[in-house]
């Protein structure tokens, strides 16, 4: 452990997450990290509750999508001179304990990204079958289109160095941003590692998660992006 990371920031994109965002932010703050919550035009009190729990809150005036919210959070953290960033879901399915493992991974020399994976040894066991099938299809598509031998494509838990974050410029503002990040990692030629992480599935997080129809939307978004400049 070299202790190169001095100013890590956790980026949380949140849209109508009032039931969970307070406890999520509290957990991250208790673990000792600065956190920026991007309230993506929520109709409920997401932003206020995140602020009360100790986060810096950046508010989108209208709902723009998770990819846009993550990019806003990344830009904000870089402006605060963050030397490492962790993206973290607001629905309570991630554990703050995983942040340390991800940051430890990018402390290795030459590594700029640490991607959380549900499918590595020691990771999530209670993944619902429908979600497993959907993720397998996404995995096949991503491996074919990027050449990256990843084991999990749509995991919101990931860490990056400031250099890695500057190489990322999300233009997929909705759910296709997860695939876009992997495309940009492949194009940047920066090195990455996968880190096993546990995902706690609850009725709440499954209700907010992606569906089969979302997979179709993601494919259309990725295709449309290639049609225009």
């Amino acid at each position: 452990m070299t202790g190169r990371i001095r100013n890590p920031w956790v980026v949380v994109a949140a849209y109508n997450e009032a039931p969970m965002v307070g406890s999520v932010v509290s957990g991250i703050r208790r673990a000792g990290y600065a956190v920026v919550v991007v309230d993506d035009g929520s109709d409920d009190r997401t932003g206020d509750l995140a602020l009360l729990a100790g986060a810096v809150v950046v508010r989108h005036p209208i709902n723009l999508g998770q990819g846009a919210a993550l990019q806003t959070g990344i830009d904000y953290a870089l402006e605060q001179r963050a030397d490492a960033l962790v993206t973290f879901d607001a629905d309570g399915q991630h554990s703050p304990a995983a942040i340390a493992a991800l940051l430890a991974a990018i402390e290795q020399p030459g590594i700029d990204f640490a991607l959380g994976s549900r499918f590595l040894t020691g990771a999530t066991a209670n993944l619902p079958m429908s979600r497993r099938i959907l993720l397998s299809a996404a995995l096949w598509f991503t491996r074919a289109s990027t050449g990256l031998p990843v084991t999990d494509t749509h995991n919101g838990l990931r860490a990056m160095t400031a250099r890695g974050a500057r190489a990322i410029s999300l233009r997929q503002y909705r759910m296709a941003h997860a695939s876009e990040i992997l495309h940009q990692i492949a194009q940047s030629r920066l090195r990455f590692v996968e880190v096993p992480v546990n995902i706690e599935y609850s009725v709440y997080s499954l209700g907010k998660g992606q569906r089969i129809t979302d997979a179709l939307t993601i494919l259309i978004d990725l295709f449309a992006r290639r049609l225009y400049r």
Binding site: P8, G32, Y76, V195
Partner: protein, 136 residues
Amino acid sequence: MIAQLLLTALLTLVLVYAWSAHRTVPIIGLLASGAALAGLYFVWVQEHATALAALVGIGRGSDLIVYIWVVISLLIMLNLHLKLRLQLDMITRLARAVALDRAKESRRETGPPRKRRPVMLGRKPEVPPIELQAKK
């Protein structure tokens, strides 16, 4: 003759539209130009339209022209759809810039948040990370 002149005027407008679309969406510009030029040709050389229609099993040359018109309309709709996406892209960038500016302003007013020392950084991950490389 009147119909021919009318169709020629409309297809010429499509050609101008295709030329302007070519700058932002090259594939739409190219396809719309091709369809409009084919339409112009068949409007004035109808016997070829009839021969081609018979060859592809449509029946009448006029039907072929209608089908070409439908294809042009679909391409224009696709182009409008892509333009809407482009507008959304610009609105998103604008809204993100506004959000960041407001956050900076409120931070200046309230001062930076109290920072805590990271307590987990020294702990090694329970399962070691697995290094991977992109296929060349």
